[in-house]
Symmetry: C2
Subunit: 196 residues, 2 copies
C-alpha cells in the first residue's frame, strides 16, 4: 500500500471521517499544507505519548493537575461530576460555573464491564471524605446510564453530609414545545417550579 493510501486509511480512524473526506484531507495536507501535516503529526504523537489524567479530577492533561484543579480561583466546595472531558469543555464555555469537576470518563455499564472501579469512584470518594466538598452537582447525561450513575454517586455522597443536586432537565431555552420530545416534556412538567 502506498503512503498516500495508508494515510487515507488511517485518517478514517477519526470519528465522522469516511473514505471521501479522508481522501480530501490527505490531498489537502500533502498538496497544500505539508508543513501543517508535520505540525499536526508532531503534536498528535506528543499528545498520545504524554497526555494522562489529572490526579484530582481525572480530566485529560499532560500535567499532574489539570488547569482547573491547579487554579486558585476555583471553588473547591462545589464539585460537578460529568461523564467526559467534552462535558467539562461544554460547561466551561457556557455556564458561569466556578467550582471544580470530577470526570468519570464514562458511565456505569455492567454489561460492558464498566463498574465503579473503571470510573475512578474511589478517587471521588476520597474527595467526599476530605471534607472540602459541600455541594455535589450531578451533571451526567440525561440517559438511562447517566441517571443510574448519578443515583449511585449520590448514594455515596449523602452519608458524607454533602448536599447533592442534579442539573435541571426540561425544554431547551428557545425551544418550541411542539418540537420537544414527549420524554423531555414529561420531565419538564414533573420538575415544574414556582413562577417568579
Amino acid at each position: 500500500m502506498s503512503l498516500v493510501d495508508g494515510l487515507i486509511r488511517e485518517l478514517q480512524r477519526l470519528p465522522g471521517v469516511g473514505p471521501k473526506s479522508a481522501r480530501r484531507m490527505a490531498y489537502h495536507l500533502l498538496v497544500r499544507d505539508r508543513d501543517g501535516a508535520f505540525e499536526l503529526a508532531t503534536i498528535m504523537k506528543r499528545a498520545a505519548d504524554e497526555v494522562g489524567h489529572c490526579s484530582l479530577c481525572r480530566n485529560l492533561t499532560e500535567k499532574e493537575l489539570c488547569d482547573i484543579c491547579a487554579s486558585h480561583k476555583r471553588n473547591r466546595q462545589q464539585l460537578c461530576v460529568v461523564e467526559s472531558s467534552a462535558d467539562v469543555q461544554a460547561i466551561e464555555s457556557a455556564a458561569e460555573y466556578q467550582g471544580t469537576y470530577f470526570v468519570l470518563m464514562g458511565h456505569l455499564s455492567p454489561l460492558d464491564g464498566v463498574g465503579p472501579e473503571e470510573l475512578g469512584i474511589e478517587l471521588l470518594e476520597q474527595r467526599f471524605q476530605s471534607g472540602d466538598v459541600t455541594e455535589l452537582i450531578l451533571a451526567t447525561n440525561a440517559t438511562l446510564e447517566g441517571n443510574v450513575t448519578a443515583q449511585y454517586i449520590a448514594s455515596l455522597a449523602e452519608p458524607a453530609g454533602i448536599s447533592v443536586t442534579r442539573i435541571a432537565h426540561g425544554v431547551p431555552m428557545g425551544g418550541e414545545l411542539e418540537f420537544v420530545d414527549g420524554h423531555t416534556l414529561r420531565a419538564a412538567f414533573t420538575s415544574r417550579r414556582e413562577f417568579d
Copy 2:
C-alpha cells in the same frame, strides 16, 4: 496551551473540521484510540516527509514512478489530463479507463500566479514530443479555469499531431431535467448527438 488544546487547534487544519469536530476527534484519539493516534501521527509524518511527485505524470507518490505509470498494463497511447490526484482517483474507481494520466496539480490562474510552469506543462510537452501519445483526453474541470486550461493544452498537442478529445458534459446519469442547472442544460443541448 495544553497539549490537548494544541491538538484540537492543529486538527482544525483538516478541511471541513471546525472547533467542535476537532474536539471530538482529539478526545476520541486520546480516550479511546491511543494506539491509533500513534499510527496516524507516524504515517502522517512519513507521508509529509517522503511523498513527492511521479516523474512522469506528477501524481503523488513516494516512488520515482506512481503505480499507474509503472504498470505494464496501461495504454501509454492514451493520456488523460486532470487537475488533481483526487480526479485520478475518481476516474480510476468509476471508469474503465486503461490509459495513463497527467496531473496538473491545479489549473491556469494568472491572477494567482499559476502559469504553465507551475502546472508542469514542460513535462507534458515532452510526452507530446515523445511520439508515444496518440490521444489526449482533456478531463479538467467544467469550470472557466478548467476550460481555459484545456484549451491551452489542446493548442500544444494539436501541432504534435495528437488527436484531442474532451470528456462529455451534460445531464448526469439518473439526473432529472428539472433539477439540472441551466448552464448544464444548455451544454447538454449544444452537445446533443445522433440517437442510436
